[in-house]
């Protein structure tokens, strides 16, 4: 155990001397936090919409006003071009064409057709625009008294949004970012630390002593979990201040979960480091594997349930998935241990597997042929 601690101490000394790794540990994660925290916006806002009103009557103008009243759309002028040309040039994401007999037909209780052209390049957005235009049209009809207010539906849903009543997007995104940051950077630092010993030949001294692979790796594991905790503290503190996050309920799930999650991330880094031959390989391996899985297969942005079958199995062994469950619970849901008891267990299992494989790779503590 003494040798593990001396290994850990040496590793921390090296870490704090190397400005580049310190930057990698603290500056880059904060940058990632800011970029993701501010740049990822899933809700559709400020969509440019062009309206061609051939009627130009009182009713048609009221309808147009209604469209822009939600603030979801911003008006963009057509200026002589056709509606399709506006879409082609990308000036508008959608155009609405109001026929000349709009008001007349409504008043004579005949159905009227309003044409809406929607840019379908962005499928998701197109769907949002479509729904929004529909809803606005319905609302316009009702508010103008053109259809009876309580006419059709016998069921009236009474909606209330639980956990995040203001539907603040930051509450959804930021806890997910923790999962990405606290996986990618600690694993990258650990893999660099290991591979650097290979590159600089210092590993030979370790080989030439009787230190075992487990002792050697445990020392590094410990050191980088400590570094990772520092990182977690800084990132979470900045995030709560910037994005106005609060603990909901029991913080112990987050504390225990973070320690275990960092352990798994560092173990993964050690595994990559044990396999990689140089720093480039180590950085690329941890960065690509980390970002891909933590972004795409963890439920950070895209629902896990949407991942198709064979790939959905992979998401079960992505620790970030479980950690995001923990962070979302800690910052949004607040159910505590009852809600996420399984998550730390799953992460510990996966992390333990990584560590075991890393020690297997190095178990002889010798050069390979």
């Amino acid at each position: 155990m003494k040798r593990v601690f001396s290994q850990c101490l040496k590793e921390l000394n090296q870490f704090r001397r190397d400005r580049l790794t310190v930057a990698l540990a603290f500056v880059l994660p904060l940058a990632v936090l800011l970029i993701y925290g501010f740049a990822i916006r899933l809700e559709a806002k400020n969509i440019p919409l062009a309206v061609q009103d051939f009627d130009n009557s009182f009713l048609s103008r009221t309808y147009v006003e209604r469209l822009f009243a939600t603030q979801q759309f911003v008006p963009t002028p057509l200026e002589g071009t056709t509606p399709t040309a506006a879409l082609d040039r990308g000036d508008a994401k959608a155009t609405v064409v109001i026929p000349p007999d709009f008001e007349r037909r409504i008043k004579s209780h005949k159905p009227v057709t309003v044409q809406a052209l929607i840019d379908g390049t962005d499928v998701n957005n197109a769907r949002v625009i479509q729904n929004s235009l529909r809803a606005t049209t319905q609302f316009f009809l009702r508010s103008s008294g053109l259809v009876p207010a309580q006419a059709a539906s016998p069921i009236q849903p009474h909606l209330r949004i639980w956990f995040n009543p203001g539907r603040r997007e930051a509450l959804y995104i930021v806890p997910g970012i923790f999962g990405v940051i606290l996986w990618v950077f600690p694993s990258m630092l650990a893999s660099i630390a290991l591979v650097r010993e290979k590159e600089q030949g210092t590993i030979v001294q370790v080989y030439a002593s009787d230190l075992s692979a487990v002792e050697w790796l445990l020392g590094k594991e410990l050191a980088y979990v400590i570094v990772g905790l520092g990182e977690a503290l800084v990132v979470m503190l900045v995030a709560t201040l910037l994005f106005n996050l609060r603990f909901r309920g029991d913080p112990t799930t987050l504390i225990v979960g973070t320690v275990i999650y960092l352990g798994a991330a560092v173990a993964f880094g050690l595994l990559v480091g044990a396999r990689a031959g140089n720093q480039t390989g180590a950085v690329q391996g941890t960065a690509i594997a980390g970002f891909l899985t933590a972004l795409l297969l963890s439920g950070f942005i895209y629902r896990i349930e949407n991942i198709p079958f064979p790939l959905s199995l992979v998401s079960n062994i992505i620790p970030a998935r479980y950690f995001i469950d923990i962070t979302r619970d800690a910052f949004v849901r607040g159910t505590g241990w009852i809600g996420v008891w399984y998550a730390p267990l799953a992460i510990a299992l996966i992390g333990g597997f990584f560590f075991r494989v890393a020690t297997r790779v190095l178990h002889r503590m010798q050069f390979k042929d």
Partner: protein, 696 residues
């Protein structure tokens, strides 16, 4: 060829290290082809050989960090892996953590071997004091000089009190003064009973070992004490200084004994006007098992016939300002050399005999195996510059990187037809100087004149007259050798019709004819270096810059290199070459020695040696270590150095001081068997210059 090798049965019991038919294979490559040796406790055993000979592999197996393919390895009576805690291992790159301090590095190394607490404190303090690093305990290892790093690595290895110390080229690229201190330290450590196995590419360091093994291509060629190996060669070395070395070499090579069928082709097909035959002829192979070829009868050769007697001359090597002639018998050789030179009206300035160098031993050994690379004349089409004109001239040349002054006012003049050697340890500023001279790096101050130009040195007219071979290979690893050479022909604008011939010359000279379609990356370092030299001279430059052309090249290839370089010089090319092998400086006409960005000495090799005040004395004593310790207290420590079982002393006034030293040693009850003056080596000269400058 194995001498003084104890029988294996005894060796296993008494020796610290015993290796029997050790083999190591990496895929298809056999790095070690069955080597045997044994090292006695307290012995300094040297493993001498070029890069790729198998030294590092041997060390890794001895240190227990790699498995052997087959064979027996016994370290301290057990398998190397079990002996790891009693081993100290210093690798080529020193294995230090650059971002940890001296103290932290020591503590970590000690911790790995479970030396802690008060025990660590006391050992670390005494070791660091001994190597004079105690003052810098908190300095980061990355900020230390090469010599200090090397000492720290040794301390890290010694802190656990190992019984065996394995040192894999610990002195490569380190300045001569530090190297000598390091070997002094090793001698002291060995005297305390630690067994030392050290590898070195410097043949002068090999002389400081008790016994050495010459290793080449995975096989041990010879084992013995340096003296044994020299005696076994059975040749004497004559140093010839004459008015015209070229003519002297030509004259002497005509009477050189020749009998090997291997090189008859070269000797008869050679160009009679030049020195083709001079080096291509190997001496008679001595019989197996240490047979001496001294006095063996040689058949008459064409050269011997002109001399009227069996020729005593076996080999001739040209250096910057002298010839080394290997002769079978000193007296006959002396007569023959004088006679031949008189016959050709060449004034002899000086002729002295000396022992053969280790390099002679090594070269001779390799030649017997037919490993001598072919020598072919370069197909020259441009008439070179007239000799003697100034090719390179610098005045107070300076370079500053940030706050670090890499080159501090260097004055160099190189003339056409001259070989100028720039020597110094790694980091002395050699490469920076060369880069400024060929326009790759702007100078921070001072003036440069290159081929008559003083500004815009990287214009294409200037560049087309320059050849540059850099320390790192400039070849593309994933192209074939042929593609690389064709590329460089294109880059340097070699006329199309001449390309084939030049490329053929490079391939033949490198011994790669017929293998030109190999990818360059698959070649070992030494071969790449030859191809890369070829690539840099194909356009027949007037000025040639060679940055460490010979590092990692075996002695035979190194000689071939220098011959090629000399040929270019003869044609009027100005050549500036850097090296950290001091012994190579002998090949230069003029040399300069750089320390920390400053030239501390400049002149011809002989000039520098003879301008040394004082005399070098070789002292043989039964108690070498005791004598050394004793004398180091009375004289300045740098004046005393242990070479194997002898002591070298630098005395400014030997006539007075020697008597006094005899008296001191007698009083201290240290017996002196002999004390005789020996000539300075360049190494001695530089250490003297540097130390005197520091003392002043």
């Amino acid at each position: 060829m194995v001498l003084s090798q104890p029988p294996a049965a005894i060796a296993a019991q008494t020796s610290a290290i015993a290796v029997r038919s050790l083999r190591k294979r990496y895929g298809a490559v056999e790095a070690l082809k069955g080597i045997d040796f044994a090292v006695q406790p307290g012995e300094i055993f040297g493993l001498i050989g070029p890069d790729g000979a198998g030294k590092t592999t041997t060390f890794q197996i001895l240190a227990g960090v790699m498995e052997s393919t087959s064979g027996e390895v016994n370290v301290l009576g057990t398998a190397p892996r079990n002996a790891r805690l009693d081993l100290g291992y210093v690798t080529q790159k020193f294995s230090l953590y650059a971002d940890l301090s001296i103290e932290e590095n020591m503590r970590y190394s000690a911790g790995l071997r479970q030396v802690e607490g008060a025990e660590f404190e006391s050992r670390a303090r005494s070791l660091l004091q001994r190597v004079d690093l105690d003052r810098f305990r908190d300095r980061l290892a990355g900020q230390l000089s090469g010599g200090m790093k090397q000492k720290l690595a040794l301390c890290c290895a010694l802190v656990a009190r190992p019984q065996v110390l394995l040192l894999d080229e610990p002195t490569t690229g380190v300045d001569p003064v530090s190297r000598r201190e390091f070997w002094d330290l090793l001698a002291a450590v060995a005297a305390e009973g630690v067994t030392v196995v050290a590898a070195t590419p410097y043949l002068d360091e090999a002389e400081r070992c008790h016994r050495i093994a010459l290793i080449y291509a995975g096989e041990i060629q010879q084992i013995g004490t340096v003296q044994e190996l020299r005696d076994n060669l059975g040749l004497r070395r004559m140093e010839v200084r004459a008015e015209s070395l070229d003519e002297a070499e030509r004259a002497l090579s005509q009477v050189q004994g020749t009998e090997s069928p291997l090189f008859k082709g070269a000797a008869t097909a050679g160009d009679p006007s030049d020195s083709i035959a001079s080096e291509a002829i190997p001496p008679a192979p001595p019989g197996k098992g240490g047979g001496l070829n001294r006095g063996t009868e040689r058949p008459l050769s064409k050269g011997a016939a002109t001399a009227g007697d069996a020729s005593a001359i076996v080999d001739i090597q040209t250096f910057g300002d002298r010839l080394d002639v290997m002769v079978t018998d000193a007296e006959r050789g002396d007569q023959q050399i004088r006679a031949v030179l008189a016959q050709h009206d060449i004034a002899l300035k000086d002729l002295r005999q000396d022992e053969p160098t280790l390099e002679n031993v090594f070269v001779n050994q390799l030649r017997q195996q037919g490993l001598d690379p072919a020598y072919l004349e370069f197909p020259a089409y441009r008439s070179g510059k007239e000799k003697g004109g100034r090719a390179i001239d610098t005045h107070r040349l300076q370079k500053t990187f940030g706050s670090f002054q890499a080159v501090k006012g260097v004055d160099i003049t190189v003339r056409y037809g001259e070989i100028y050697g720039l020597l110094g340890a790694n980091g002395a500023g050699k490469t920076t100087t060369i880069k400024m001279l060929c326009g790759l790096l702007p100078a921070s101050g001072g003036e440069i004149e290159l081929a008559g130009q003083t500004s815009d040195l990287n214009r294409s007219e200037v560049r087309s007259r320059i050849g540059y071979m850099s320390q790192k290979f400039t070849l593309y690893d994933d192209l074939t050798i042929l593609q690389n050479l064709e590329f460089y022909c294109g880059v340097y604008g070699v006329p199309k019709k001449l390309r084939r011939e030049k490329i053929d010359w490079v391939l033949e000279t490198c011994g790669l004819a017929g293998r030109e379609n190999l990818t360059t990356g698959s070649l070992p370092g030494g071969w790449k270096q030859r191809v890369s030299f070829g690539a840099s001279v194909m356009h027949e430059p007037d000025i040639l810059f060679l940055d460490e052309p010979t590092s990692g090249v075996d002695p035979l290839a190194r000689r071939q290199f220098w011959r090629l370089i000399r040929d270019f010089a003869r044609r009027g090319t100005a050549i500036l070459v850097t090296t950290h092998y001091l012994e190579e400086a002998e090949n230069c006409n003029t040399m300069a020695f750089m320390v920390a960005g400053v030239i501390v000495a400049q002149g011809s090799p002989s000039g520098i040696k003879t301008s040394q005040p004082g005399q070098l004395i070789e002292l043989v004593s039964g108690q070498t270590q005791a004598a050394s310790d004793f004398l180091k207290e009375r004289l300045e420590p740098w004046r005393v150095a242990i070479f194997g079982d002898r002591l070298h002393l630098v005395l400014d006034h030997p006539e007075r001081e020697l008597d006094e030293i005899h008296r001191w040693l007698a009083e201290a009850d240290i017996e002196v068997q002999s004390a005789r003056p020996i000539p300075f080596s360049l190494e001695d000269a530089f250490i003297g210059i540097v130390q005197r400058a520091e003392g002043a």
